[in-house]
Every structure is written in C-alpha cells, then in structure tokens.
Amino acid sequence: MSDPKFLTLENLTLAYGDTVAVKDLNLTIGKGELVAFLGPSGCGKTTTMRAIAGLLSPASGHVKLDGADITRVSANKRNVGLMFQSYALFPHLSVYENVAFGLRLKKTPAAELDRRVKAGITSVGLSDYADRKPGELSGGQQQRVALARSMVMEPKVLLLDEPLSNLDARLRLDMRSELQRVQKETGVTMIFVTHDQGEALSLADRIVVMKRGAIEQIGSPEDIYNRPTSAFVADFVGFENIFELSDGRLKTPKGPVELSGPVPIAAGLAWRPRMVTLGSGPFQGTVRGASFAGNSREYLLDTSLGPIKAEVDAALPPHELGAELAFDLPIAAAAALRTFG
C-alpha cells in the first residue's frame, strides 16, 4: 500500500535573492518514512524544509506530494505540518485554542473538534494544562503543544526543524521517544532536521547528509555510519583518520605511504579511532595525548603518517605519554571513500 514516491523533490533550486542556498536537489521519500536531514550549519536544511512547506517558492524545480505537483500550491493549502525550532505557539491563546486553531479554520464540527483537540492534548500528556497560556509552560511542554498542534491536522508530512536542540539532555531523550511513538502510532511521514549524528542514527529510517546546499549522501543509518562515501560524511560521523589515495598509496603530510595488502579502488580511505590496531603493525607512533572516556581510552599519536587517533578498551593497561607504539591501519576495516573533498 505504501507509496515509495510519496514526496519527491525534483531538481529543486532555492535562493534568497541572488544567493543560492540549495542547488539542484533530488530526493524521494516514501510514505510513512522517518527521514533525517543532517549537516552543518548553513547547509540548507531549513531552506529545504521551508520549500516543502511552501513558505519559500523555488527558483526552479518541483515538489510533488501524494501524486500531485504542489510546487505552486500555497502553504495554507498543502496540509504539511512544520514544527518550528522556536515552537511558534500563539501567545494569546490557551493550549487548547492553540491546538484547535487549524481545526477551527477548517470549520470542523464542534463535537469532533473538541474530541480531536482533547485527544491531541492528552496524547502529549498535557491534559492538565489545556487552559494555560504558552508563556506559563516550560520549554519541553511548549514543544509538545507545538507537536500536538501539528498532529491534530493529520498532516501528510510533518517537518520538524531541530525539534530537540533547545531541550536539555533528559527532555531530549523523552522527546525522542515521543516522536518515535507518534510516528509509529500515526504512520505520518516525518522529516526532521538535526546537527546531531547520534539523533539522526537512532531515530531515522533514512539519513540525508547535506553539504553546502547539496545532498552529499543518502542512506540508512548503517550505511551512513559504516559506509560513508565521502571524506565529508566520514568526518561528520566520526571517522577521524581520513586519507586521500593516489596510485594505491596514502597521501600523508609526510609524503606517500604504502599500505600492506591489496588497496581498494577508491578516492580515499578512512578509519574510526576504534579501527586502529594498537600494539602491533608496520607503523610506529609516539603517544602525544591520552584521554579516558569511560569504556575506552583515546590516544593521539604522532606518526610517520601525521597525527593518528586511536581508541582502545579501557580495561587494557594505559600507555604513558611519550611511549613508542607500533600500530596498523587494517585495510579490511577501512571505509572506502568514493569522493574526497
């Protein structure tokens, strides 16, 4: 039943005046999918969301939703929900009236309106707060009102712009499971923006990594985490030892370095600190820094390949600063990067 091409962005170019913020973006999202937009500040995540919502009309390209081209449909007729980073609750209205706002505009019959609004408020656990004004609620509560306000409209797509970034660590976890629950219960197609790879990996069905107004990689959390295809994504998801390849050799600050074994055809290779074998191998390094991170220890090594980060089990005996260690960068473990840049 589910439509794999529920929402499609085709050759979408978005600009503010002469500044192009997103260029030639193509993306297909299936019905009921939970997609994360991940990327550094200014890469065009909010801009893309605003275009899907209809708050920004594209310079060129198309937005299609549920079989219809909605590029020229105005924002108030799209039935796309957007949860703003700032919540954007109406300060003069009670929680109840905030949630009822959209249904009142649709002239929903009174009994149905009351039932749906109450159900919405109850589902985010705020039934005791229905008469409060937004100013009398905590940040987390305000955010849940914003979620309920979007959800009672039964939107075709719910967009969430950094839904968790204004919350403290505890609330962030609550809200994470809240979002997951809502998505499971209603099956709504959801796109959320985040800076935080952990959030994207744990919540999303699929992750879209963006860089300077373009998509860098799309994939499942496993793909993105284990098989980044570019140095940019590798860096973003925590591969800290990244090398360009040329003629089968690693390019390092200290000249080309030969690896033992067959090197894959790729533009570069990347290793997480965990993937570095410490204590044996063809390379030598000096411990320049060490830090304890609970389950593990991280070492910064000064080596003939330049600086290398390695992470080992904390149960192993610690190495002193200045110690000389042998190490290896196992080719089998490395992520092969298709593009380097």
């Binding site: 919502a53 209809g54 708050l55 924002a75 108030n76 007729k77 799209r78 796309v80 929900g81 957007l82 703003f84 700032s86 954007a88 609750l89 109406f90 300060p91 003069h92 706002f101 959209g102 505009l105 649709k106 306000r149 409209m153």
Partner: protein
C-alpha cells in the same frame, strides 16, 4: 551618611510636588467661592464647576476636540498599523526614510506645522477648517501610533504568522488572527497617547480655527482673555479627571501597564 540618606526621599518629594502640585492647585482653585482665578481659593463653592456646563462654546469646542481626538486617532491607527507592520516585517528599500518622514510632526514645532498647513493647504485649496483640523491632528498622532505599534510588533516573533499559514490561514487571516490580538496592548497604548496628544494640542489648532470651529484648549485660552474666573480651573480639573478615568479603565480592562 545623613545627607545621602535624605537625598533620595527629598528628590522623590520634589518630583512628586512638581508633578502633582499644579494639579492639586487647579483642583483646589476650581472649588473657589471667589470671583477670580486665585490660589489659595477664597471660600468653597461648586458654582464654577456648574458654570463649565453652562458655557455653550465650551460644550461645542469639547465635542470638536473629542471628535478630533477620537476620529484622528482612529484614522492614524488605521494608517499606522499597516505602515508599522510593513516597516517591521518587510525589508523595504528606504524604510528608514519613511520612518523619518512619518516621525516629522513630533520633531517640527507645532506652530510651524499649523502655519504651513494654513498657508499651503487651507488657503490655496479652500479646505474647510474642520477638515484641515482633522488632517492636522491625524498627522500629529500618526508618529505616535507608528512608534508604539512598531515597538509592540518588534516584540512579536514573525514565525507565528507562518505557523498560522501552515495551519490553513491566509496571510491576511494570520494578521487578524495572530498579529492583531498580540499587539492589542500596543494599539491601546497608541490610542491613549494619540487621544491625549490631540486633546491637549494647542499650537497647530491655534492657526486652524474659524467661526464656530475651535478646539477646547484654544477656546479656553480665548475665554480667559475675556473672563478671568475659576471656571477655567474647574474645566481643567474635569479634563484631568477624564484622562485619569480613561487610563484607569484601560488598565482595568486591558492591563494597559503591561504593554507600556
């Protein structure tokens, strides 16, 4: 030590004396039993207060002033609210210039405004005095309306309008449903400020008076030039109480002071 401790209460006392003092003197003088405007009042009577209501020109000019203040303020708000909205929400080219032009009547002395209106508008175009007064008062109130409304728009996030649009409202609907209710206090403040400014306006109105068309303050000055009795004090006191009443009601029903 002693001097420092006394400094604040004394300053406070002086400020209150200068602010409230004249008002108390006027009120006291209006209960005078004597024939001329004097302080301290001679005797006690209510006859000057009663007299205010029998002077026909006061009645006419009061209604003229009321009409100008209410009508001028309403028109200034009808023009000023959309202007403030446009100035604060859209990055219009020359927004600062527009702001300066709109604010000009605050900066330019009233006498000049009055004289130029008379010289360049009323006389050459044969504009009626009442219309000229109305236009002048509207122009004088407009800067206050724009200032106060802009300030309260500045405190309002613009994303709530987008939120309203995404919930199905039109842009215009969003303005009426979520912008106006949230700047209600600012609009009320602008109304009171405009009303008081217009009601107490002398210089501009001085140039724009004709047979049977006068504002109350101008009429009071004219009256005092002929009759120097305490009824002017009585009238002033009544007007002061009217202003206090308006502010009190605004506070009571709209929580006015929260927005000023």
């Amino acid at each position: 030590m002693m001097a420092r401790n006394l400094f604040i209460p004394i300053t406070l006392g002086l400020v209150i004396a200068f602010l409230i003092g004249p008002f108390l003197i006027i009120v006291a003088a209006s209960f005078s039993g004597g024939e001329t405007l004097a302080f301290p009042p001679q005797g006690f009577s209510l006859r000057w207060i009663a007299k205010v209501f029998t002077v026909e020109s006061f009645r006419d000019s009061f209604f003229m002033s009321l009409f100008l203040a209410v009508g001028g303020t309403l028109v200034a708000l009808i023009l000023g609210i959309p202007a403030s909205y446009a100035l604060s929400r859209y990055k219009l080219p020359g927004a600062e210039t527009i702001r300066t032009i709109v604010s000009a009547p605050i900066i330019v002395p009233g006498i000049i405004v009055g004289l130029s209106l008379l010289r360049y508008i009323v006389v050459p175009f044969q504009v009626g005095i009442t219309l000229a007064l109305f236009l002048a008062h509207t122009a004088l109130i407009l800067p206050y309306a724009v200032r106060v409304v802009s300030a309260s728009l500045g405190n309002l996030r613009s994303d709530i309008e987008e939120a309203a649009v995404l919930l199905g409202s039109s842009r215009l609907g969003a303005f009426f449903r979520v912008v106006l209710p949230n700047i209600r206090g600012g609009i009320m403040s602008a109304f009171i400020l405009g009303f008081v400014t217009s009601f107490n306006q002398v210089p501009v109105s001085l140039f724009l008076s004709g047979p049977g068309v006068r504002t109350l303050p101008v009429d009071m000055i004219a009256y005092m030039e002929i009759v120097f009795d305490p009824s002017v004090a009585a009238l002033s006191a009544l007007l002061a109480f009217m202003s206090i009443g308006i502010v009190f009601l605004a506070e009571r029903f709209l929580g006015f002071s929260r927005y000023v």
